[in-house]
Symmetry: C2
Subunit: 327 residues, 2 copies
């Protein structure tokens, strides 16, 4: 990719392009999370205020239950192969593959604006707003909306707040900047309901997920003077709890948060001989290195790999490699 | 109490009083939490910059492990009966009894400034700064420091940030205001280490506490179509985990956060026939009412009582009353 292409456009470029487009589609990445849903709905609702435009807010996946309370979810619709748009705005997508089965919509669009905060973004848009030092795409959307004078009402503010809050772990991750807090302050001034947001986003863990978490924790074992914690989740455990594989999410963070634990690891039995392994590090141990030994990858503090073997065998192999890394 | 007494002083009054005092003691409430420790150290470090004053930062309890990383903890010292001060500044204390065994220090002080955000504060100070609509005492201290031109360096900012973050549940509670975020933004500009704060405050649950939580969760039972969740913690469970009674804190919030649960309840075996019961409500059920039936009390959404009977008997009695409340 040429240096040329890795350049951001000005907010004013974006404003002019939006103003001159009549049929706009907004889309975010597959397996939606708070930031993708929140920034999608936030910008979507803001653009929908211009009644002279057709604005479609696309979602091809199921909306996670925690986000069903968000304003504007009634506008979410799946895309159709034959549809075409003057302008496609992608949110929180580092590359076009992140659109999943909605990727064809990019081929049918006359023009693409790419708004994202992932450092791995490949600037696939005709115009790009990629700010890797922003906490979240939601924070970028707010900053853009402020700069191009989009009206941010209470509903839009709620969506953008959820985007920022979820992508910063409720302002705990160090992606949180002074500007992130400035934006949160502005959003709160729109009289959003923080109680409702907290209850829905953070206090509504399903019973199935809770039971699976308890079961996983019962399987937890500690090694190397409690510097390593490992848990396994089998298909049987998932079935017993009437849970789904997604319900394992979050368990690894719970284990990482134990005092003294430097590396947390979870083994997830996707199939009888397909074990997905997640790693978290709280110390100098580079878990991307460990994952790479099994053909996986990731970041120093969060990584993953897949092992095509039985779960007990996978556990053994992983254990050995992490022990080496901890020495 | 007369209306007269329930008045706040101006920041300027506080400034003048501090400037004219030579021997100052700062103290916060017993069973220290993040807000009491953070605002105590934050203001203490700020006042210590004036080398013409003797400034003592008093702590009569043990410092919780999570807060040992805070700057200034090396200055914490317990008070002595015979000491006297020109000025005592109390932080995060709603009344003088909250000083616990340090209460005598108030009797020996020539003058008291009371800085707090609890709505129940009884304005016991000679001067008072009581702002119940502030998220935390830490937020008040920042606002005061800003107004009276105290120099807020990185160390002080770290302490005040921890005060605000912990008292708002990391900005999740609706005590968080636009101003809270403005203050958080200003504190972050002092280049505090958010990673270090998050790791120490939120990602360092002790292994003993973790094991006790797992055991408690295994004891959890659901009633009334999963609208009520109850767990018990016995002395044996605490001993098995090498944990202490304080390690039960937080378990009830974990249970409350299950989707569909309206009332969460935990029974803690303090003694063989001394059961402390905690209640949380996420719905219209007023748990203060339930607690009052057993001689306890609290708020609509958080309350407690003590039952002097065996834990199984206590569980039965409580269950019956909550079921009534849920109907």
């Amino acid at each position: 990719m040429s240096q040329m292409k890795m350049k951001n456009n000005s907010f004013n470029d974006i404003k002019e392009k939006i103003n001159s487009s009549e049929k706009i589609c907004l889309i975010a990445h597959v397996n939606p999370d708070g930031d993708s849903i929140g920034s999608l709905l936030g910008l979507g609702l803001a653009l929908k205020k211009d009644k002279d435009k057709v604005v479609k807010i696309a979602l091809n996946d199921e909306l996670p239950k925690n986000f069903k309370f968000l304003p504007g979810t009634e506008y979410l619709e799946s895309t159709k192969e034959e549809e075409s748009f003057d302008l496609l705005i992608t949110l929180d997508c580092s590359d076009l593959n992140r659109l999943g089965k909605g990727k064809y919509i990019a081929n049918n669009a006359d023009y693409i604006i790419n708004i994202d905060h992932h450092i791995s973004n490949d600037y696939f848009g005709d115009m790009n707003i990629v700010f890797p030092n922003f906490s979240s795409t939601g924070e970028i959307v707010f900053t853009l909306a402020e700069a191009i004078d989009l009206d941010i009402d209470k509903n839009i503010a709620t969506c953008l707040y959820v985007a920022i809050s979820t992508d910063t772990g409720s302002f705990k991750y160090d992606s949180t900047s002074p500007d992130t807090f400035r934006v949160a302050s502005e959003l709160l001034k729109k009289e959003i309901n923080l109680n409702e947001i907290t209850r829905n986003v953070y206090q509504s863990r399903s019973l199935e997920r809770t039971n699976l978490l308890i079961k996983s924790l019962n399987s937890m074992e500690l090694y190397e003077n409690n510097r390593l914690a490992m848990a396994s989740v089998t298909r049987d455990m998932i079935d017993d709890c009437n849970a789904s594989i997604q319900d394992i999410d979050g368990t690894i963070d719970f284990i990482r948060d134990i005092d003294g634990v430097e590396v947390a690891c979870i083994l997830k039995e996707y199939g009888q001989e397909e074990i997905k392994v997640g790693f978290r590090s709280k110390s100098d141990v580079d878990v991307a290195n460990v994952a790479e030994k099994f053909g996986g990858g990731g970041h120093r503090k969060a990584s993953g790999c897949t092992i095509y073997d039985k779960i007990d065998k996978a556990r053994e192999m992983i254990l050995e490699e992490i022990k080496k890394a901890l020495r």
